[in-house]
Structures are given as C-alpha cells and as structure tokens.
Subunit: 418 residues, 2 copies
Amino acid sequence: MTEQQQNPSHAPSRVSRRYVLGAAGAAGLIAGGAGGAFGAAQLKEEPTALASVGSSSVPFYGNRQGGITTPAQARGHLVAFDLAAGAGRKGAAALLKRWSRAAEEMTAGRVPPGDNQIALDAGPSSLTVTFGFGRSFFAKTALAKQLPDALAPLPDFPSDELVAAHSNGDLWVQIGADDALVAFHALRVIQKEAGDGAARLRWQMNGFNRTPGATAEPRTARNLMGQVDGTDNPKQTDATFNERVFVPSSGSPEWMAGGSYAVVRRIRMLLDAWDDLSLERQEKVIGRRKSDGAPLSAGKGGTETTPVDLDKRDADGLPAIAADAHIRVAKPESNSGAAMLRRTFSYHDGFRDDGAPDAGLLFVAWQADPLKGFVPVQRKLDGGDGLSRFLRHESSGLFAVPGGAGKGEYVGQRLLES
Amino acid sequence: MTEQQQNPSHAPSRVSRRYVLGAAGAAGLIAGGAGGAFGAAQLKEEPTALASVGSSSVPFYGNRQGGITTPAQARGHLVAFDLAAGAGRKGAAALLKRWSRAAEEMTAGRVPPGDNQIALDAGPSSLTVTFGFGRSFFAKTALAKQLPDALAPLPDFPSDELVAAHSNGDLWVQIGADDALVAFHALRVIQKEAGDGAARLRWQMNGFNRTPGATAEPRTARNLMGQVDGTDNPKQTDATFNERVFVPSSGSPEWMAGGSYAVVRRIRMLLDAWDDLSLERQEKVIGRRKSDGAPLSAGKGGTETTPVDLDKRDADGLPAIAADAHIRVAKPESNSGAAMLRRTFSYHDGFRDDGAPDAGLLFVAWQADPLKGFVPVQRKLDGGDGLSRFLRHESSGLFAVPGGAGKGEYVGQRLLES
C-alpha cells in the first residue's frame, strides 16, 4: 500500500512520474489529482515537467506515517530530542500536537504566517516528517505501562563502536525531501517548535540520495562504496510486506497499530580501504557484480533481479557466492525469513583528522518487530560478513513509530492520551 | 558567453531546459546536440524529461573553465590542498595533468577502468570541476615571477573570525553537480589523484542549492535566511559582464588570460538571532521584501527586478531603503561600480555545541580583479551593513583560476610550463 492509497481524499497538486512508477498498479487511484487529467499510460510515456519534483507531495494524514514506504528522498535529516525536565506527558502531548500541525502544513506546501520562508518558491518536494518514540520516553512521561516489548534495548554487537551522545533519544524525527532547502526548512521548524522548553536537541545527522532525474529511470540506489544497495528489500507487492514492516491493527500495544519500528544506525564506511580492493575482491565481498548488481551465481549473465543461487559452484567447484559474502549472510533465507525494509541515506560530513572521509550510510530499517528483523540479521553480519570489516557502526537508535494521524488528530495521540 | 558557446564542437548528450534558459540566445548553437533535433522554441515550450538532470553536461575544454558562469548546481564541494614537500613545479604539473584528465572524463560522464563506480547509473549531471592556485603555490613551485598582483592577501576585515586551517591553501578545487553522488564521486577521484605524495587535503566544505525542478521555473536562489539572494548579480547579457568577471586576453600575467579570481568565504549565519527578528525588521536589514525580493523603494508593488531607488522616501520622509540596508551598502552604485559574480552554495554541518545550527553560505565570488570586486564591497559591508551583525566570516581564500584548457592541454599548463 502506498500513502496515496491510504488517503484517497488527498489530491496531490501534481503526481510525479517517480510516484506513479513506484505505486505498482495504484495509478487508477491517484491519476485524478488536481494537476490534470493524465492517464497512467500517458504518465509512463511522457516525461514529467521538471517542476513536478517540487510539486509532488506525500499526504501527512493516514493510517501510516509518511517516510516509510515513500521512495527515499534526495535529502534527509535524522534528529533526536530529549524531553526537557518537567515537560512530562502534558508537555510531550503539546509538542506532538505542534509538530503534527507544522508537518501537516509543510508537507502540503503551505507557509504559515511568521514562517522564515526558506522553503518559499519550491513546492512540498515530497517532504515527509516522521515521528518516533525511544525507550527513554516512556518513563519520563509516566507511560511505562505502554512501553512496547519491541523497544527492548538492542543487544551489544561485538563490533559496535557506538557514541552514546549520538545514539538513542526520547524522540526521533526523520525528515526527507527532494529539495535541500525544503528539508532544512522543515528541520528548522521542527527544532523551533521543540525549543520552548519542551525538548532539546540530542543529535542530528544529514543525508542524501540521488537527485530525481539523475538516472534515466528510477533505479535501486548506489551507496558510497559504489555498490547497488537495496536489491533484496521486501517489495510492497510481496504478500508478506505489510506483516513484516507494520504492526497489525490487532498488535500490541494498541497504540502501535499501523506503526513500525525504526532501527537507525550511522554506519561509517572505510572508503579508502574499500577502494584499495580490486573490483573482483569487492564483488566477492558483496556477492554481486558491482556494475549492475547481478548475483555472482549468474556468472557473466544475469541482472540485478536474477534470483540468487546460494548453492551455485564456479568452474573450480567453489561457491560462486562466498561463505562470508554479504548477500549470503544477510539474505532472508539465511535468517529464518527475517526481513526489514531498509530506507537509507548516504552521509558525508567532511574528513576526519586522519584525512579519511567521514562518510557512509544513515541506515534506517523498518520492521514490525526488531527481534525478527534487524537483530537476527545484524547478529550474523557482525561476525560473519566480509563487508563488516569495512564498516563501523558509530550511532544506534531504536524507535517506536506509531501509525499516522487521522484528520484532527496528532501523531502519538493514542499513546499520549491512553 | 556560456561554456557551450566556447565549445561548439562539444555535443552534449541532451540539453536541459535549465541550460537553454540560462544560455541567453545561445540556443541556436547548442540545439544541435546529439540528443535530438529539438528546436529552441520547442525546448522552451515542452517540459524536459527528468532524466535530463542527469544527462546535462558542461564541457571541460574551452577558453574558460566551467563552474563560473554555469548555473550553480544542487550539490557542491569546495576543497583546498597543499602541495607535498618536494613536489615542486614538476609534481604540480603532473597533478594538474591527472586532475584535468579525470575532470574531462567525469564531466563527460565516462567511467574509466578501475573507477569506484559511485557515479554509475547517473549521467554527468552538469558536473563541473574548477581548479585554482593560491598565493602560497607560487613560491613552492619556483614560479614567484608569475604571481599575479591580484593575489595580494585580502585585507584583514575587522569583523573576520577566520580559522587559518580552514582558509587559503596552495590549490583549490570547486566541484559542482546536480546529483550528490556524482559530486561525491568527483571529490573522491580528485582526492585520490592528489594522494600519491603530490598534495594533501587542507580543508573541505560541502554545500547545496535548490534541486532542479523544485521550483516551477528557474528562480533566483534563496539562502538559509529565507532571503532571495543574487538579484544584483551581473548578468551575462550585461555589456560589462566579461570585463568584470574575466581576465582579458591582454591581461597580466599572460597565463591568466580567460581566467578569473575566486574569493571564497565560509559565512556562518546566526540563524536563531535572525529568525527572532520580525519580518519587517528583516526586510529593513536587507532592503527588499522577503517574499519576492522586490526593493522596499517599490512600496507594496514591484518585483524582484524593479530597479532600486535609493533616494526614495517613505510616508514619514525616511529613506525607504535604510542607510545600513544590505542592498544600499552592497550595490555597485555605492561602490564605484564594483561588481562580482556571486555563485554560492548553502551549507549545513549540523549543530554547534550551543545548539545553534552550523549553517550559512559558502560564498564564492568571481571577478577580474578582487581589488575592484570583493575587497571594496566587503570593506563597506564589514562596517556599515546591518546584515553583518548576523554573519560570521569563518574561512577565507583567494585563488587565481586560470582559463580553460584546450583539447590536449591541462588546466594551468600555461603557468606550469611558462
């Protein structure tokens, strides 16, 4: 399900080609947007006006929050806040109300009075603002009874090099937009609404993805290692997609119905060491051809979507996909069917004192239950993945992201008024 | 002149709408690109395919380097290097050769063997790579006789809060592209080509601008204060544009013919203090209406392009544009006709320890002579500009950017082989 489907009453001012291609058959529902009477077939044939990057919008209201199944935007901000002492449940509820109202306005491209106007001229640019609660939120708001079991602290993984000040937090906000000024504007507004004694900034990270239109058609992302990244993501068309990613309406606690759990990791890449490997070595570490993402089990043929054959042997009788290849260790079949929806941003914060780039992946993984998603996969990767030698997990967070708000509600209302 | 005009032999694979609109009458020369037989009128009427963001290219070879009159891209990296001890003129020439060859390949969207493939899938995305020399370069390469007078150190401005380690440098590279991965790839390649003992990284900054297509049509940029920024820039159609921005072929030293001088300043904005001002106060500080950039002398009417009337009085007999308004102090008429081409990126490097955003402007100003461009303007702004209370100049550099390379040449060859 796309957000558009959940919100048929929302008429985006213009539907971008990207959204149509990502909507997997939903075109009938969204082609009636206010922007014109395009038929779906025509949208696929005709190039979309450049301005559609700006005018594309993602509804704020719905059963689920935006920014989960929304295609990852060109610019992202991840930011965590801690509640101010004494804010309590009342202060938190007031904050979520302000945040929800601001997010509703901004995602629709409206500029309220007194706004700093940074986003002016552009449209909503597919802005999403997604709110989550960390484990520490519940005691501070006297809501310990509502603490989900799924928010149990992540285990300590042996290779972790986490910085506590850049990890966890009472509240988490994920901002994404296809325009950097629109995203920065949203970050400023969210921070300002928090800044009246309700919450203080804990950490903040900036990320990016490919610009819409930089490739000839929507493609699986590449990360800063140059690798096609995200091929094995569950697809929204999979029969099990919803149960893997979203908490069902019958789930527990009740306020998490339609919600999801976000695991956030800042993963620095040791790019100098990685680039020193030969292409052949890099491909063995991953298990896929670098140029197009085809699995090495496909030999010289295949494409990114060719099914992986983990049993395939090469001419020398050795496994075509090595025992410690990333895709073997990470694949759902190797992990009792575990799956999570990875929705990442790359980051680059300049250079470290040793001259190496401070760059890598802002990994955000969505799942109905972290103990069936991220945790078992990372347990295996942490020890057995050839790729892990080139990665450093430096920050970590786990957040309960409730379902979306209906009109007149605010995100988290079912928790805060429980 | 646009780069395209200087390089009629270059056939971009597809010409984007943005370029056509920026080309000011040059459409006839560029419409014959390999991408198809579009007429200029048709290009202006028809929206361009999203993929044109990726496939737009800026020629590397030409009388002038790219990245000066090229419309500022969505993503930018500014990076300075210092020559390694003992590299000397020979090492510097070899480095500029490698850099030029790599820039030629990358700006054409080609991927050489052994590449790390980060930019793959995307086109050149209007990539430009621009090279300059700092004052300290000349002694280290025994080229002191070729040191331009214009590279005299910038004066100390009283308000400057410069960090020496983030200022100046022997070599400067400006990278811009409309896709963040294409820009990052170029940065990695440039750094790698320097990394074999020829030069070491001195400082590096990341910036951004609006995404192509986020606005309905190309607009003057907004900065992170929310202000329309760049209205008073000289236009390429101005009769005096070339003489203000570029060193003439009769200029001195000879190797700078077709070149320009870049003043680079990292200008942090005190955004919290700025946002605390009322809209009316902000507009008085600038001298323009915030929403659309119209000068306050136009009263409630006017547009961004309405000529500024510095003598205009308001109903109370006070100057409509205050004595310390930014546009009064900065305007060419207030500075003996001084003009520079400002081509900026915004930056946001997270938050400072005090919770304020570490954000502002990567100011890059291009001029034929800094003593007639940046220096006299900044002298006046530094003391008399109401806006300067909200700005902190934290880094500074001045670089001689030589003319472009012809086919088979490398950038700086006329200097290094003089």
